[in-house]
């Protein structure tokens, strides 16, 4: 993990959820910029988490469900060209802020050349053709 890539708790934005419960419902559709990871990619992420001592800032848990990845390099000015964020959800059912993430370089976890993963961000607004 790079400096500043620790795992912040996630619920400071917004008031308590209207829908209630500790596990929030996911919106029906997954947004177009998000990329599904292959099992091998997830294993590499998990390995990096273990190697770097990644833990949940909210509850200290170390068991995460690894979710989608988002290519940051195109969308955000402050990010390196090959920067990604990978969604992590703390598996501790008692965790108050289970949603967190890890910032990684493309070569650290992604199989292949990453072209499709990157394209997802700039093609997100393309109409159906």
């Amino acid at each position: 993990m790079r400096a500043g890539d620790d795992l912040p708790g996630r619920d400071e934005v917004g008031a308590p959820p209207a829908c209630g419960g500790k596990r929030r419902r996911m919106p029906a559709e997954v947004r177009p910029e998000l990329v599904s990871l292959l099992p091998a990619d997830r294993d590499r992420v998990r390995g990096l988490l273990t190697a770097k001592g990644g833990h949940c800032e909210s509850c200290g848990g170390t068991d995460f469900e690894i979710g989608h990845a988002l290519y940051l390099g195109f969308l955000f000015l402050d990010e390196d060209d090959d920067a990604y964020m990978v969604a992590l959800t703390c598996r501790n059912l008692e965790c108050a802020h289970p949603h967190t993430a890890i910032r990684l370089h493309e070569n650290d976890f992604l199989s292949g050349d990453g072209t499709l993963a990157r394209a997802a961000t700039w093609l997100a607004s393309a109409p159906p053709r």
Binding site: G14, A18, P27, D78, V86, A87, W122, S125, P127
Partner: protein, 497 residues
């Protein structure tokens, strides 16, 4: 010898007022062009498809850039006020247009009621070959003969007719076609010109034609005799030519002084210019354009492949983590002067009503356009849920974007917000959009929630919204002008044009 040109006093006054307003319009128009110095023949404003560009900037391919990055900073010598002050340039343009139209109306009315229109209207087709002969004569550095009993040669008469009866109305019509309210209510009108970017391009060509006319007109006056012709346009007849020369230079100096004063006022006290000029424009804008409702529904094939963007996504870690979790933790807080404040997540917002879908043209204040399909909740449904108190007059949309951090090309910093009149919430096609082109709203277009108010210019449609407040006064928010761009770039709060 005294030749009576019979220029009535009203025509002479209108002529000099016309010089003032046209020059103000040209300089402020160049300021508006500077903010997106590219012209297109397609309504997508597709990067690289411009037929004319007045910038050398090269945009990056590996990073999201927006149209603020493409803005140019022109000198006050050619633009009013210069230095990339689009908001102030717009105020001057619209005020000068109002003045010019009023002068034009008085000119037309008097021209036709006094019979003076014969002076400029070509009465016979034979004028065209005569005008061609005149051009050939001018090209051999000679002066052609005047038309019998008239003070103009055939070429001059045709040129005046073209400007008075063709070019001037054309500029007004193509200018009106660039108003988002006009475009939203009368899409057929804009199509008449070939589309919104055709109207903008034609408007620019009209500008070039006007500049060309002015240069030739001044050359003609110079070659035919400055003293004689300015005497005609000052005294009504050719007499006291030395006095006429002096007075003409004095009038031109006065017009230049107005330009200098307007420029200095704009650069030194833009807030005052914003308040004063927008108060004038609002007198015309509100009754004419506010009643217009959007009736757009472009066919799917017209959707822009790469809808342009303005503004960059929030760079905060919080935002990025929310995004990678599909905005499951995003909340919209709605409060202020309401009976029923609420906090909603995306699912809760979606559940408030059937999604509305609209295929519409986005009219950026900078002049570019793109066509997109937006889906979301009609804003009136949210208004009905929270029940505004009777004193609530405005809706303030607050966003997660911090311009200090997120937008290096912006003119200022701080949290982005926009205020709009509550009445706009009930307009057709005013929605809180959470979808674009059939997919969840992309990050670069404002995910997870943005406004669409189709009769307004694009900057009013705040992106990355996380809070909505109902208020009765916005003077205490930001710098008190009614929005981030109103605060920092001096735009008008109401932008139907």
């Amino acid at each position: 010898m005294t030749t009576t040109f019979d220029y009535p006093v009203w025509l002479r006054v209108d002529h000099w007022l016309n010089v003032l307003f046209v020059t103000l319009i040209i300089r402020s128009g160049i300021e508006i062009l500077a903010t997106h110095p590219k012209l297109y023949w397609n309504d997508d404003s597709r990067p690289g498809s411009e037929w004319a560009r007045f910038t050398r900037k090269v945009m990056p391919k590996n990073k999201l850039y927006d149209t603020l990055d493409e803005e140019e900073d022109y000198s006050p010598f050619i633009s009013l006020p210069g230095h990339a002050q689009l908001g102030i340039g717009r105020h001057w343009h619209f005020v000068a247009v109002i003045g010019w139209i009023l002068v034009g109306l008085s000119y037309y009315i008097l021209l036709f009621t006094t019979g003076q229109w014969h002076r400029y209207w070509p009465a016979s087709w034979s004028i065209f070959p005569e005008a061609w002969n005149d051009i050939v004569t001018y090209m051999t550095f000679n002066l052609p003969p005047l038309l019998p009993g008239e003070p103009l040669d055939a070429m001059q008469k045709l040129a005046y007719a073209g400007v008075i009866f063709g070019l001037a109305p054309f500029q007004i019509l193509t200018g009106a076609a660039q108003s988002p309210a006009v475009e939203a209510r009368f899409p057929w009108y804009v199509r008449m010109f070939g589309g919104r970017q055709w109207a903008r391009s034609l408007h620019f060509i009209g500008l070039v034609a006007f500049i060309g006319f002015i240069i030739i007109h001044l050359s003609m006056v110079f070659f035919w005799g400055w003293g004689h012709l300015t005497a005609a346009m000052i005294f009504g007849s050719i007499r006291n030519t030395h006095w006429a020369t002096a007075l003409s230079l004095l009038i031109i100096a006065a017009i230049v002084a107005v330009h200098v004063a307007a420029t200095l006022w704009s650069l030194r006290n833009p807030r005052s210019v914003q308040r004063v000029l927008d108060a004038v424009v609002a007198v015309v804008r509100r009754p004419l354009l506010r009643p217009l409702n959007s009736r757009q529904h472009y066919p799917e094939r017209k959707l822009t492949a790469q809808h342009r963007v303005n503004g960059k996504p929030p760079c905060s870690v919080e935002y990025k983590v929310m995004a990678v979790h599909n905005f499951a933790d995003w909340r919209l807080r709605v409060g202020g002067l309401v009976e029923n404040p609420v906090t909603l997540d995306l699912a809760g917002l979606r559940a408030l009503g059937e999604p509305e879908m609209q295929r519409v043209m986005h009219n950026c204040v900078q002049g570019w356009t793109s066509i997109g399909q937006w889906g979301g909740l009609h804003l009136s449904a949210l208004v009905e849920l929270v029940r505004p108190l009777p004193e609530a007059k405005y809706i303030c949309s607050m966003t997660m974007q911090d311009n200090d951090r997120d937008e290096p090309s912006s003119h200022g910093g701080g949290q982005f917000y926009e205020v709009m009149d509550l009445e706009l919430a009930y307009k057709p096609q005013t929605i809180l959009a959470y979808e674009m082109n059939g997919k969840p709203l992309p990050i670069k277009h404002g995910a997870p929630l943005r406004l669409r108010v189709e009769t307004q210019v694009g900057f009013k449609m705040a992106k990355w919204i996380n809070r909505i407040e109902f208020i009765n006064d916005y003077s205490g928010i930001g710098k008190g002008a009614g929005g981030w761009r109103e605060d920092n770039v001096y735009y008008a709060k109401d932008v139907e044009i």
